[in-house]
Amino acid sequence: MSGPTLFGLCAAVLIGLGLYGVITNPQPLRKILAFNLIGNGAFLLFGAIARRGAAAGFGGDPVPQGLLITGIVVAFSATALAIALLLRLFDESGSTTLAADQPAIAEADDRDPYQSAEKLGVLDELRARSESIEGTNGKTSEIF
């Protein structure tokens, strides 16, 4: 079996493995990892095709190789954007689950207390409590 065919079949199995990982892993970070596996498998397939086009003294067809370099850089940018989305989801909701109907759990450190109270559904109660405290003029910021 020649080199390009071997790596082409290897790429096919890599794409299958990556697809299985994307479907069955519940964590978004693992899904991103598996998605990168699919991407690298596709690149490897393209590289095998480039190797088959060796001619004119070159070891491989240079046009697919140039497109592959572009592809690797763009795949990295997409991964960076996906991870930024994931980290923002974690900051907003305190967990990275992709399941629906999850309560929003706000982190307590330096977040805006008004937004945290709103998300936890206790804003009305706190407002009522603050109005009953003398001298606060109903401002919720006084009781934090």
């Binding site: 479907i23 690298n40 480039a50 070159f58 190789q65 690797i72 940018s77 991870i83 990275t96």
Partner: protein
């Protein structure tokens, strides 16, 4: 069976084994370790396929920068692991997923085995006009001369990705410095490495950029090494990430693609087509475009790893 084909078979098997481990590992950090090792082995596979430029890019960006990104994310998301492992799908869904993946892999394998023979190739066409571009590396000629439109759009897409990452900043920290504040011991080993390695790294990065005209290399690999040196200095606490509201940062980010577009449209006037280079000026214009794209690429790659801004903007 020759030695080289036996080595290729062993390499392919190890690649598959590490990829399977990356998918099946229990802990996320172990999966990321597997992924980085997989990327480095993939670079060797690229060398086996005679694509040295792609091997350099895969080792630098595909395995190196992506690994840094993933490790940083895994460290921040450490607390969510236990909760999410309860959501693993049951056996029926997993069997279905395995069947679907096997079907996809089988389809692609059939396609690989039925590729046309002799393989169609553009290598003679690329070799024919290589002399007029003044370059010796055909892959660089493809990137910057034959398919210059792809490279131009790619440099813009990378800046778009950075804008996308920045747009995920919460309102209260808009315009601030990306990433956490790294406070390493100024007399520690990491600070020592961050003082010793960047001069060597910058030299190697600029060398790889410069030599890409005639030998394997080029601006993407060189810019990645420069970005890695900057990230190392930031992580050792010797310098801080620039606030994303700084004007000089934004000007440097768009300068490369804008110059590329300007030269491209000037080509419409001087050489008859957009992104065509006039006779005799090809090598000079190519050098100018690559030199202008280097700061853009370096800044963008490093800032993509640094992420959205998390600290409030300085006055």
């Amino acid at each position: 069976m020759t030695v080289t084909s036996a080595l290729a078979m062993v390499l392919a098997l190890i690649l598959l084994a590490i990829a399977a481990y990356t998918v099946a590992a229990r802990r996320t950090f172990a999966a990321i370790e597997g992924f980085v090792a997989y990327g480095l082995l993939l670079s060797i596979a690229w060398v086996a396929l005679s694509s040295i430029d792609v091997a350099l890019t895969e080792a630098a960006i595909g395995s190196g920068l992506t690994g840094v990104l993933l490790i940083g994310a895994a460290a921040r998301l450490r607390t969510t692991e236990a909760a999410l492992s309860a959501e693993r799908p049951g056996a029926p869904l997993r069997w279905l997923a395995a069947a679907a993946s096997a079907a996809v892999a089988g389809g692609i394998a059939v396609a690989v085995l039925s590729l046309p023979d002799p393989a169609p190739t553009l290598a003679p066409a690329a070799a024919e006009h290589l002399a007029s571009t003044g370059l010796g590396n055909p892959v660089t000629a493809v990137l910057i001369a034959y398919r210059a439109l792809d490279t131009l759009l790619e440099s813009i897409v990378v800046v778009f990705a950075l804008i996308g990452v920045w747009s995920l900043t919460p309102d209260r920290t808009w315009g601030g410095r990306p990433g956490p504040e790294h406070a390493a011991d100024p007399n520690g080993i990491l600070a020592y490495l961050a003082r010793l390695l960047p001069p060597i790294g910058i030299t190697v990065g600029l060398y790889i950029f410069w030599v890409g005209a005639d030998l394997p290399g080029g601006k993407f690999q060189g810019a990645t090494i420069l970005a890695a040196m900057w990230l190392l200095v930031m992580m050792a606490g010797l310098t801080d990430a620039p606030p994303i509201s700084r004007t000089w940062l934004r000007i440097l980010l768009v300068a490369g693609p804008l110059l590329f577009i300007a030269i491209g449209f000037a080509g419409a006037l001087t050489a008859g087509a957009v992104l065509a280079y006039p006779e005799g000026y090809a090598k000079l214009l190519i050098k100018v475009i690559e030199a202008a794209l280097m700061p853009t690429l370096t800044l963008t790659l490093a800032l993509l790893v640094a992420g959205a801004s998390e600290r409030t903007a300085p006055p």
